[in-house]
């Protein structure tokens, strides 16, 4: 299998704090890869390196064999990386549907001239955009609420909408930052089958951060473990479950938390 993502020796320093420390990761085409680790381990920071919110202090990021280390966030979206946020960042004053529309490349790259003078060709293009986005809404189960403002959706649905928005950019790789946070058991089960659908039916690659171990173990093809910015383990779910270093990192959490 070829690699979709290849990160070599990535380091991110904030002043004296090394949030991501010399991390190398390879994600293979087609796999669901999970990133776990105690609070403050550097998981979200790693996502921010992948999406270009931060430029790594050191290291290189290859996406589909192309060096994207110096690309801007919006350029990486064009390349095919999209994400959700740990703290939901929807466009709260736009409707559910509009949140997807703005993410669709044919919508947010519309030209000025065509937007003023466009006729049937523009209408056809927009119809296609709306159709694409409604298909995604169908998939995430939000079709019925497409005209609701995002801010009026319940929390769990807002999380789903963020996933839908990430899908609307037509990505190859989707980064999900704690998609199940704040969801109840039933919602998590639905989320789990949604994620599997995204990989199987839409052929997208998923890299996901999650704290719920049961969820992670059941869904992941492979797992990577961070602690204090360092990658301490990598392997199949069973391997990770029995890894001594991982168990220690999680057990020691109460102590390290106080140090911060």
């Amino acid at each position: 299998m070829s690699a979709i993502l290849k990160v070599s020796n990535a380091t991110m320093q904030f002043g004296g704090l090394v949030a991501v420390d010399d991390v190398s990761v390879v994600q293979r085409e087609g796999e669901i890869l999970s990133l776990i680790g105690p609070n403050g381990a550097g998981k979200t920071t790693f996502f921010n390196l992948l999406t270009g919110v931060y430029k790594p202090t050191k290291g290189q990021i290859l996406f589909l064999d192309e060096d994207i280390t110096n690309l801007k966030p919006y350029e990486r979206v064009e390349k095919g990386i999209s994400r959700t946020f740990q703290n939901i960042r929807l466009f709260s004053e736009l409707t559910t549907l509009e949140n997807l529309l703005v993410a669709h490349p044919d919508c947010n790259r519309e030209g000025l001239i065509e937007s003023i003078f466009g006729r049937s060709k523009l209408i056809a293009k927009r119809s296609k955009v709306v159709e694409d986005c409604e298909n995604i809404l169908e998939m995430i189960g939000l079709k019925d609420q497409e005209l609701e403002l995002a801010t009026n959706l319940p929390y769990g649905k807002q999380r789903l909408l963020e996933i839908g928005r990430a899908l609307a950019t037509n990505p190859r790789l989707v980064l999900l930052d704690e998609p199940g946070a704040g969801m109840n058991g039933l919602e998590k089960e639905e989320l789990s089958s949604l994620i599997i659908n995204i990989t199987k039916k839409l052929n997208k690659n998923i890299l996901l951060i999650e704290h719920d171990m049961k969820f992670v173990m059941s869904i992941s093809d492979r797992i990577i473990v961070f602690d204090h910015g360092v990658k301490i383990a990598e392997g199949l779910p069973e391997e990770i479950q029995n890894n001594q270093q991982v168990i220690e990192a999680y057990l020691g959490r109460g102590i390290t938390d106080d140090e911060e």
Binding site: Y74, V77, A103, P105, C107, I116, R126, L147
Partner: protein
Amino acid sequence: MKIKLTKPVLAVVFALLLALPLVTTNNYVLHIFISMGIYVILSLSLNFVTGFAGQLSLGHAAFYGIGSYVGALIMLNFHVNFFLALIISAVVSGLFGFLLGLPTLRLKGDYLAIVTLGFGEIVRLVFINWAKVTRGPLGLPGIPKPTVFGVELNTSMAFYYMAIVMIIVTVVIMNKIINSGIGMAMQTVKADEIAAESVGIQPIKYKMLAFVISSAFAGIAGCFYASFISYISPTTFIYNTSVTILAMVVLGGLGSIPGSIVGAVILTLAPELLRFLSNYRMLIFGALMVVMMIYRPQGFWGAGKRVKNIYKIKAGGGKHVGHIKG
């Protein structure tokens, strides 16, 4: 306050406006309406960048001034036709918007406001001090009127109807942009730049676009004003004017096209209607603004109304009306 912009209401207002010059021969009244029209375009254009794309500008009068001076100078010196001058003024003002935006749109909120304020002052000082071209404080007199097929359009009535046409064109164009993919992208940039970038939107591009379009329309208003009033001087394009336009946008409701129109109408009419109060009128006027901002901070037409998304309708998706409770 609930105002419904139904089709019949609009039709009646429009008919009344069209009929106005036929019922009144009073030039003073028409004059006020034409000024109002110029301010409608100015407030619509500022609303585009500040209300809609969320970039606070305190130097809008500069673009108004650039349009005025460019239009006046090319009509006076090169005898350029008024309608061509309108377009050239728009392009030059838009270009200045671009040049100012290039370094400054990376700044946020207050900083951008200060830079645009500074820009406004610099432009005014150039009008005053570049006397060889602008005649400095003396201003430029004798700016020609438009001519169509050799006929000079020098009546107030002609300017009145031209203003109406200009407003309609402005509203139609802005409506199209606001309800396009571009408009939606602008809204996301205003709401959350990081989220916008995360879906592939380049914030600076849309801020720039908003800034350029806004400046270009201000330039058109400027050129129109120059020809209408036939004499311009730097005193028109002062900080005070920028603030007045901003007040129109805020009073009408940030981000709202009908709001900007209402704001411009009220703020041009109010000083005239309150004229009998003589020296107290500005005082009372200020007090009214304060009361308004306390009881209806979203403006007459702001937030409470969210226009249906034409993107969806155009796509053939049927009725689609989002609403904000408020």
